[in-house]
Amino acid sequence: MGRAGGEEVMVSPEPRAVKKMEWLRACPPYAQGTPLREGDIREKRVTFVEDHPDIRYSWAAGQAISKFLNGLKEGKIYGVKCNKCERIMVPPRMFCELCYKPIDEWVELKDTGTVLTFSISYVGPDAERLPEPAIPAVIEIDGASPGMGILHVLGEVKPEDVYIGMRVKAVWKDEKEREGAITDIKYWKPLEVRK
């Protein structure tokens, strides 16, 4: 038996002593590893080291997304157009990834759209349970090419009332609270109720 952290833990079983030809018929012939129980670290039954890295980042938003975020601050959603493939794209980008050339123009889109898909999420970023479910959705933005969506969240709607194809409208933060961030749109609310 091995010892760790002052308490005994189970050690891996040794591989079975079998002839090669015998174990070749059932691979893998053995499974090594020492399982720990959920509380073994919390209750210090194993030897371990703890660390909490605190690393800070500032991401310059780049040419295209800076203009997009500054647009949000003014209550506008900008896309870009490529004259070769004729797509109007959102989120905007400085080059068309399909034609691999610079975009040709900036286009102001509407702040309405259509739900392409969605989820009712009971978990947050750390897999913690949320008191109220979040409703993330991919929203196709009016004025952009078909299928051009952005990730955002829905609000002012019951989870059971959301459906693919639902028409929605952006609910903006008050102008003075906007900071040039994707969260300048608080959420998207339904424009209609399904019959």
Partner: protein, 406 residues
């Protein structure tokens, strides 16, 4: 039950002139569990030891090592490839770490393949390791850093969101019911009862899946594979060595990989184009023109139950919307006409991201060598396929193997 032949013409740049054929002659894997005492290096060592035992080789014969391991954030250690080096047997020889997120479990053997096929090396070890338990409270905390920091992370996403939205889109466009998808979880967890490394082998019902805890609907607890610690290894050799080492080499006959755009909200998520493109590349190399007829056993990537179906359709092994029907009819069971995830897959054996190789590439190797024991599929097998998927749900990685020399 035939499916129209997948379009495999028109792929450019594949006039690939390999220097030598590549065979797999050994594989190994550790126990997979939510939390193991062993470090990543120790797990790598255990998997390698078992693979070398099966191959009848020692590390001295290994000329190069390919390591696969997924986000550094899981371990809180950068340059994880270097950190794992000694456990993978990689010191003092050419060594490289490859990483394409969840796609790594098949991409690492693809990289092993080109090391040998190019003629640069005759004996290559491929090692995949993942330890998802170090980060806490949950591996999801590390997955946060996959999201775009400017446009997505401020919305406080959980990685499950994108899978949930992909699953819903798949269900909507193909008119698939959750109960049909849940059959995959039932099958794979049951298959895993015969896998000695399995973490979540159990007999469950469709109702258990539909009534399990909601995570991000439509995804519920039993639709998802667990976070796991574990490792896996493969030994790949050149043709002139394969026959000296074993009477049952398994040949790599095709490889393919492809990434779709990172602008994932601009794609229609109902169909995995990245898998279709990767499959076309591999099929062309392996001279497969009708995958549904020519592939005998499949290990598609199944981190979620719907993904097995989604990927079968991307691989051209089922028409769009047909995979749930094949599942319901039992075609994908171990004794079916197209056994799918006979290992028990990620849903049943566990999902140590890159180490998924253990139930994907290693399992297809064991199936084609007739060494899968109780997991051996009933039908006669010649050709098998494994596939993985990853990055921001955008890469498909595909490997085709055969027990007939190419």
């Amino acid at each position: 039950m035939g499916c129209e032949a997948m379009e495999v013409e028109g792929i450019s740049g594949l006039e690939f002139q390999k220097k030598q054929n590549v065979a797999i002659v050994g594989a190994g894997m550790t126990l997979w569990r939510r939390r193991l005492l062993e470090t990543g290096r120790e797990l790598s060592y255990l998997a390698v030891k078992q693979a070398l035992e099966e191959a009848g080789l020692t590390l001295d014969s290994v000329e190069a090592v390919v390591m696969g391991s997924a986000p550094d954030a899981f371990d809180g250690v950068h340059m994880k490839g270097d950190y794992l080096l000694d456990g993978a047997g990689g010191s003092d020889r050419p060594y490289i770490r490859v990483f394409v997120g969840g796609g790594t479990g098949v991409f690492a053997p693809i990289a092993g393949y080109w090391h040998v096929a190019s003629g640069l090396f005759d004996v290559v070890l491929v090692v995949c390791e993942e330890k998802m338990s170090s980060v806490h409270p949950h591996a999801q905390t590390a997955f946060r850093y996959i999201w775009d920091p400017i446009l997505e992370r401020p919305l406080r996403p959980n990685l499950t969101w994108i899978f949930a939205m992909e699953m819903r889109r798949y269900m909507e466009v193909n008119k698939v019911k959750h109960e049909d998808i849940a059959l995959v979880a039932v099958k794979n967890k049951r298959n895993a009862l015969d896998h000695p490394c399995a973490q979540l082998a159990e007999r469950i019902t469709v109702e258990d899946v539909l009534n399990s805890e909601p995570i991000a609907l439509p995804v519920r607890r039993l639709d998802i594979s667990p976070p796991s610690d574990g490792a896996a290894a493969l030994v790949m050799v050149a043709e002139h060595l394969a026959r000296r080492l074993t009477d049952e080499p398994v040949w790599v006959t095709g490889v393919g990989w492809s990434l779709d755009t990172t602008w994932w909200t601009n794609r229609d998520l109902y169909f995995p184009r990245y898998v279709a493109e990767a499959a076309k590349m591999a099929y062309k190399m392996a001279h497969i023109t009708d995958p549904r007829k020519q592939i005998d056993v499949v290990e598609p990537y199944d981190p979620f139950d719907y993904k097995e179906l989604h990927h079968l359709e991307g691989l051209g092994l089922a028409r769009k919307g047909e995979a749930p029907i094949l599942t319901r009819e039992g075609v994908t069971e171990r004794d079916g006409d197209l056994p799918v995830c006979p290992s028990g897959g990620l849903l049943g054996v566990g999902n140590p991201i890159a180490a998924a190789m253990g139930v994907k590439a290693c399992e297809i190797y064991w199936q084609l060598a007739y060494r899968a024991g109780k997991r051996q599929v009933k039908k006669e097998v010649t050709t098998g396929l494994c596939q993985a998927w990853g990055d921001l749900m955008q890469i498909g990685t595909v490997m085709i193997m055969s027990n007939k020399r190419p």
